[in-house]
């Protein structure tokens, strides 16, 4: 071995990578060669110096410091991204408008290209959004109680999923608690409906006295309680995270906002409707609408602090749901998870097999709807009960449906929003309800000196609706025409104006507040696909009389009402027959 060969092998010797025989050869040479020996010494010194210096740096741990900086910088970038986000929102609006969709296409393409280059400079927003969700999930890992207040455009006694774009907001309050033994209890409530799971049983009360009792703990989300699911904050966020991971195309936007001096992270998630455009139930539930969820998290605690849901329509986004307050880990009174029930409860249950079940199993949706209305017409309540899931038919329903007349039953249709495993149907119907005899109370004791309506009474002269004139009836430009009208002419004129939806004319006989309320109800009904004009009553006056007791005139009349709507019926039960689910 010569010196050049030896020196070439020194690095391997240092690393103990030489075979035994090679090592011996190199060491033999080193013994005899002072020059190579010196070289070896220097190499060992350098190696030791490197090892010693590197050891002082090995203790360096920059991981956390680096990640803290990344988060700070990410936040700054999120603020920048907000500007891009706003662009996106504008595009979305443009895209949602059919008129501008095509005209705007060219502009949008340019804008998208610009935004892509902005995003390209930062870590993709999706991963940042996932991090935010991950942090929020960890933040609720030790939550044992949640108390939420919310409001939703829904109907006070309908289920907790139903929405209407024009409905008023209804307050919702919800509680969930997990005790030290792991027993979960919850309550979801709005004015007309309460769901309570006390740890053993699940009860639904539809005020005043309808209910369902399940002798087992059902999960949140049962009985169509979309809003109830929100109490499972961990699952809610976990699902959102899974969706974000599984659908990279899903639109997610992140930004920071300073709210009352506190840093908040806002995460927006755009969700497409799960039913096609034009579906009967489109926009009747949040999941059946194209909607935007806006989550708010505290930037420090990472806790979920708010959620707003907007439904996209052609020209605007409508706020449909919003959490107004969340309290975590607050003590909840035991009484919250106990439900006070009225004595005359009417319980709904699963339909049982009938002795003549086969006859009902064979029915088509149309036949079932016809048989149901026929039984109502005949006031055969035992037969009606076979199409209901309740334990009895209450007096209100009897008064409403008894003696009806079928005008027509249309062709049944289905909706993806009411699939029920393909066993849910809507059956269009038109029925004439049994005429109702009523009394209108009228008075002329006002400065305009004309008859106006001051109350509504039933046929037994029991007050049904009091009418309060907070302001005196005004003196009309053509007041004389109205001064000449008799009480029965006023009642006819009022119903006539109603049939034309002439709200201004109606205000001449009823207080403005009441007319506005009725106008609002009609508009809501229209949103619920109810044919208003068809459903407005017509009347037949029977007599006019003076009541000394009330110091008023009364007009007795018969009210005729036609109802045209869609009956919801379903067959997904063990008795395998159609039962009426709604639409009356």
């Amino acid at each position: 071995m010569n010196c050049t060969e030896c020196i070439e092998k020194l690095a391997e010797l240092l690393e103990s990578l030489l075979s035994e025989s090679q090592r011996q050869i190199v060491q033999e040479h080193l013994k005899d060669c002072r020059q190579c020996q010196a070289e070896w010494q220097k190499l060992k010194e350098l190696s030791e110096r490197l090892t010693s210096d590197s050891q002082t740096w090995q203790q360096t741990n920059l991981e956390d410091a680096v990640f803290n900086r990344i988060i700070v910088k990410q936040n700054e970038k999120l603020k920048q991204a907000d500007r891009v986000n706003r662009h996106f929102r504008i595009w979305r609006r443009i895209m949602n408008s059919r008129v501008t969709k095509y005209a705007a296409a060219a502009v949008i393409i340019i804008a998208v290209l610009l935004s892509v280059s902005i995003f390209h400079q930062s870590v993709p927003t999706v991963s940042a959004a996932q991090q935010v969700l991950q942090d929020a999930i960890e933040a609720v890992s030790d939550v044992w109680s949640v108390h939420m207040k919310a409001r939703m455009r829904t109907r006070p006694s309908d289920n907790f999923s139903n929405i209407g774009l024009n409905y008023d907001f209804v307050e919702i309050e919800m509680w969930k608690r997990t005790d030290e033994n792991g027993v979960v209890q919850w309550r979801v409530e709005k004015p007309g409906r309460v769901l309570v799971m006390d740890g053993q049983n699940t009860t639904m009360l539809i005020r005043p006295n309808h209910g369902v009792l399940m002798e087992k703990p059902l999960p949140l989300g049962c009985f169509d309680s979309w809003s109830g699911r929100l109490l499972n904050v961990h699952d809610l966020l976990d699902n959102e995270l899974k969706n974000a991971k599984n659908n990279p195309d899903r639109e997610l936007f992140l930004r920071h906002e300073n709210i009352n001096g506190q840093d908040k992270i806002i995460l927006e998630v755009d969700v497409a409707a799960n039913v096609p455009e034009g579906d009967y139930l489109r926009n009747s539930f949040i999941t059946n609408s194209d909607h935007l969820k806006v989550y708010q998290f505290d930037a420090n605690t990472k806790l979920l602090e708010g959620l707003q849901v907007y439904v996209h329509t052609e020209d605007k986004d409508i706020l449909i749901f919003e959490i107004t307050d969340i309290e975590y880990n607050s003590e909840i009174e035991n009484g919250i998870f106990a439900l006070d029930l009225p004595e005359n409860m009417n319980w709904y249950g699963q339909p049982q097999k009938l002795s003549d079940n086969e006859k009902y199993e064979k029915m088509t949706p149309k036949e079932a709807a016809t048989a149901f209305f026929q039984a109502c017409a005949e006031e055969n309540w035992e037969e009606v009960l076979k199409f209901k899931t309740s334990s009895q038919i209450d007096e209100r329903t009897k008064a409403y449906l008894g003696g009806l007349e079928i005008i027509s039953i249309g062709e049944p249709f289905q909706s993806e929003g009411y699939a029920r495993n393909g066993l849910g149907w809507f059956v269009p119907y038109e029925i004439r309800l049994r005429p109702v005899e009523r009394n209108a109370q009228l008075s002329k004791a006002n400065s305009a000196d004309r008859f106006v309506i001051t109350g509504w009474y039933d046929n037994k002269m029991q007050v049904q609706d009091e009418v309060k004139w907070s302001n005196e009836p005004e003196i009309l430009p053509d007041n004389d025409t109205y001064v000449k009208m008799s009480p029965d002419e006023v009642v006819r004129a009022y119903y006539d104006a109603l049939s034309r939806l002439d709200w201004d004319e109606m205000r001449k006989f009823m207080p403005t507040d009441d007319v506005e309320k009725m106008q609002h109800q009609c508009e809501e009904a229209a949103k619920y696909n109810i044919d208003i004009q068809k459903n407005l009553p017509t009347i037949e006056v029977i007599k006019t009389f003076w009541s000394a007791e009330h110091s008023s005139y009364f007009v007795t009349y018969r009210e005729f009402r036609v109802k045209k709507f869609n009956l919801a019926i379903r067959k997904d039960n063990s008795a395998n027959r159609f039962v009426v689910d709604g639409g009356l």
Partner: protein, 174 residues
């Protein structure tokens, strides 16, 4: 620690930002040492190393040759160090304080670190991986996908270069 740089990069870009920690762990000692060589004190070096990692994190999607992450990272570090030196010139007071703080800690071998900083990219990467990254020659060979013999040969040359610049430094000091 067995995963390749490419693996960590891909994971980060797939939405797992935490995987960047793997890269920080792998290069933090070497990068800090390299920066200490350029900046002359530990505190500034660590500060610059953090900044380098942050810039690398946000620039990951622009890195075309993922197998060259290391030299790309040191390229960023070089620019960060230059910026810091410029700022130091402007802000001497703050720096004096940092120097004092650094003096209280065990001294680092800045000469050696400076010499490492002057090495060509490929040699520097080997030295940093071998010593500051604490990896064996076999591991390095696997990661860079070259024979072990090549690793030791290049290490030999890196040692020679290091010794050369260290002795030149001594000459100057004399």
């Amino acid at each position: 620690m067995a995963e390749s740089d490419q693996y960590y990069i891909q994971q980060c870009l797939n939405g797992h930002p935490d995987e960047f920690r793997g890269l920080v762990r792998r290069y933090q000692a070497g990068l800090s040492a390299y920066l200490a060589g350029k900046l002359g004190n530990k505190a500034s070096a660590e500060e610059a190393a953090q900044e380098t990692f942050v810039r690398a994190y946000f620039g990951l999607s622009e890195l075309k040759k993922r197998e060259s992450f290391c030299s790309w990272l040191f390229g960023i570090a070089g620019r960060v160090a230059k910026e810091q030196l410029r700022n130091q010139g402007r802000d001497g007071m703050a720096d004096a304080v940092t120097e004092q703080a650094a003096a209280a800690k065990p001294a680092e071998d800045y000469q050696l670190e400076q010499a490492i900083g002057q090495l060509p990219d490929s040699y520097r990467e080997l030295i940093l991986l071998r010593f500051y990254g604490g990896q064996s020659c076999q591991k390095i060979a696997e990661r860079l996908d070259i024979p072990v013999g090549t690793v030791t040969k290049q290490l030999s040359r890196a040692y020679a270069k290091l010794r050369q610049s260290l002795s030149e430094e001594k000459e100057v000091q004399k």
